[in-house]
């Protein structure tokens, strides 16, 4: 029989790469940022202890509060839109249609295109004066929409773009979910005289609940990390209306050298995300069949 040490040693050695990765890219950054919240540090000069100053600032920083609200607005706009559009196309692509494989690839294409490229493309599409969308609307006599230059329109425009970019991924997830629903259920419902709408509401939707939960969780995580779109398209404007929490934290850390303050905002933001995810799990997952 092998000695305990003989079993532990290879196990320890085998887990070393993961432990190293975990320490370097998770434990160390988290511990370091927890130290930073009590300090002022501009990266190039030594740290200076400031006590709770960064925490006091977080609660009095109106711009940070607005950036949190903006992120919330983005989530509220983006997640339902994402689910509805993805579900619609997944249903469509799940039918026996011509060139189904081609369309599936086509819908997935934006997911693999660089975020910056998509953002620049949409910046031009949404251009108020010269953009294709406004040219089209103007020709139809509908006037021009201030897509990115109005407080009211900028965030919905970004949410629309983010949906276009990511919907392919969720279409794939929903299609997987749709294909796992037993056909007997539909057959039985059909025999009972259920209409297609009834079949969708009483079979498809409940059976897709686990997938919907996954999509919501992934969308929430993606939505909280909103950065590239406002960074490239609007710089956080007009009037801070697209300034996401991550963009504001990035600016404070890397443009202005307030690493301590940025870490404090990061911690505060992490608490918000944790709370939202907890609430979400409580309300959504209970409905999973």
């Amino acid at each position: 029989m092998k000695k305990l040490s003989q079993v532990i040693k290879p196990g320890f050695l085998l887990s070393m790469p993961y432990m190293a990765h975990l320490t370097l890219f998770f434990i160390y950054p988290v511990v370091f940022s927890l130290i930073l919240v009590f300090h002022r540090w501009d990266v190039v000069t030594p740290m200076e202890f400031v006590g709770l100053k960064n925490f006091i600032r977080v609660f009095s920083d109106e711009v940070f509060m607005q950036s949190i609200i903006n992120t919330g607005v983005f989530l509220v706009l983006h997640i339902p839109l994402q689910i509805m559009v993805a579900l619609f196309f997944a249903n469509l692509l799940n039918q026996k249609i011509i060139a189904r494989g081609f369309f599936r690839t086509l819908y997935f294409l934006p997911v693999v295109v660089s975020g910056v490229v998509v953002t620049i493309l949409f910046q031009q599409l949404f251009n108020y004066d010269t953009g294709l969308l406004n040219q089209f609307l103007y020709k139809l006599g509908l006037g021009q929409v201030p897509w990115l230059v109005s407080e009211n329109w900028a965030m919905p425009s970004i949410a629309f773009m983010a949906t276009w970019k990511n919907v392919g991924l969720y279409v794939i997830l929903f299609m997987g979910g749709l294909q796992s629903i037993p056909t007997e259920l539909y057959e039985a419902a059909e025999l009972e005289g259920a209409s297609s709408t009834q079949r969708f509401y009483y079979i498809t939707l409940p059976m897709l609940n686990p997938t919907i939960v996954t999509v919501i969780v992934l969308s929430v995580i993606g939505g909280f990390s909103l950065f590239i779109e406002p960074y490239v398209m609007t710089g956080g404007g007009p009037m801070n209306s697209t300034l996401s929490a991550v963009l504001y934290i990035y600016n404070q850390a890397f443009n202005f050298g307030h690493m301590g303050y940025a870490s404090t905002m990061g911690l505060f933001f992490a608490v918000i995300i944790f709370t939202v995810v907890k609430i979400q799990r409580k309300f959504v997952e209970t409905e999973v069949y």
Binding site: T45, K53, T130, F254, G257
Partner: protein
């Protein structure tokens, strides 16, 4: 020179390939010039060779240099140092004190005007950067578009500018949408974008003041109000579009003016269509303004980083970069103005300026420029300016008076936090 004074703890020299790395601006003309100079230096048979690299891409050079400093990957020499960032580098002991080189006084005394040299001295009395070039911001304008609109002379005042703008901004193809504007500025609230609109106009309207006086915030309220109002009128009138214009709108006569520096001269000479007629003029001033016309001078300096293994050789190369011959080529190839004593009257440059009237205008304006205040929070201050500029001028959501008042208050708060 006494190397110990300059860089204590300099590493032992590596045997074999001895190289110093030089980061130049990625601007194509400036990079081409840097390549020429580096090639020449390397052909001269110096023991230590120079390796040229364009400053890596980033939203700003300062962001890139700070990251490099943290990562310990700074070059030996960089010629794209914004004076506003040097305090951070000095506090981090990242730069060499150049005045400790034996021939520093001789070299600098010959080249740089005394007041400018004094202005780059650090608090500890040492000098860590060489004032290399200045790019005064002026107005580049399409003379034909002005002529076609019935404006024969570039307007000197705000009201003249707005009047010309109302004539130039129009719908050319008759589809009911504006397709020709007076000018264009990036309206995104990005701090450094304000150098080319609010900040340069503020220096201009205040008669050459910056935001601080002897380290204390001293914003000229009247000048700031006038500047906010001027841009507010521009955007209210639709003379500048609020959206991003694709490509170079000036080259294709979609805009009539651009606020720019002399670097654009060589760009236009290479890329402008044959029928593009253009000239340069000082920025318009408030209607009641009297006196010399000041502007923002985009100063870029040279510094040697303290991690260099070859301080003496780096200094020798820096002297080569700021020699009279190199300065001549800085004008000739990169269309940028070297910070050199009596540049306009120096016989070695006189003929050049006779042949290059546009650059001569910038060289004249260079005497009336102001840079940035050497304060720790300057980027963040410009970020605040950006937010009020956007709110008051671009979107007209607050009056110029409110914008100046709230902006000063916001700057005071952020300075208090950063104390």
């Amino acid at each position: 020179m006494n190397c110990n004074n300059v860089n204590e703890g300099v590493n032992e020299r590596e045997e074999g390939n001895k190289t110093i790395t030089y980061w130049s601006s990625p601007n194509p003309q400036e990079f081409a010039l840097a390549k020429q100079l580096v090639d020449e230096w390397n052909e001269l048979g110096h023991e230590v060779k120079v390796k040229l690299q364009a400053l890596p891409a980033g939203q700003s050079s300062e962001e890139v240099l700070l990251s490099a400093m943290v990562a310990g990957t700074t070059p030996d020499i960089c010629s794209n140092i914004w004076p506003g960032i040097t305090n951070d580098f000095i506090r981090a002991k990242g730069l060499l004190a150049l005045d400790l080189f034996d021939d520093y006084d001789l070299v600098m005394g010959e080249r740089v005007p005394e007041d400018i040299l004094e202005s780059v001295k650090a608090k500890d009395g040492h000098t860590y950067q060489i004032p290399w070039k200045t790019n005064p911001i002026m107005v580049q304008y399409n003379t034909k578009m002005f002529r076609d609109a019935g404006v024969t002379e570039f307007p000197k005042t705000y009201s003249g500018f707005l009047d010309a703008a109302s004539k130039i901004t129009k719908d050319n193809d008759g589809d009911g949408r504006i397709d020709q504007w007076m000018g264009y500025r990036d309206i995104r609230p990005i701090w450094w974008q304000r150098y080319y609109d609010y900040y340069t106009s503020y220096i201009n309207a205040s008669g050459g003041k910056t935001f601080f006086d002897k380290g204390e915030l001293a914003i000229d309220v009247d000048a700031s109000n006038k500047v906010f109002k001027f841009y507010q009128q521009i955007y209210e009138g639709g003379y500048f579009p609020q959206s991003t214009l694709q490509g170079n709108a000036f080259l294709y006569s979609r805009i009539a003016v651009e606020f720019t520096g002399p670097w654009n001269i060589s760009f236009l000479e290479k890329n402008a269509p044959e029928d593009l007629e253009y000239d340069f003029a000082p920025l318009p001033v408030p209607d009641d303004y009297e006196g010399e016309i000041y502007t923002y001078g985009d100063h870029k300096n040279i510094a040697i980083f303290s991690n260099t293994k070859y301080p003496e050789e780096s200094w020798e190369f820096v002297k080569f970069l700021i020699s009279k011959e190199a300065d001549y080529r800085l004008l000739e190839f990169a269309s940028q103005i070297p910070i050199r004593k009596e540049l306009l009257t120096d016989p070695d440059f006189a003929e050049f300026f006779k042949q290059n009237l546009s650059l001569a205008r910038f060289a004249r304006q260079a005497a009336f420029t102001r840079g940035v205040d050497s304060v720790r929070d300057f980027k963040e201050i410009l970020d605040s300016v950006s937010r009020y500029y956007e709110k008051a001028s671009v979107y007209g959501k607050m009056t110029p008076d409110e914008a100046t008042h709230d902006m000063i208050e916001a700057i005071e708060i952020l300075r208090e936090w950063n104390k």
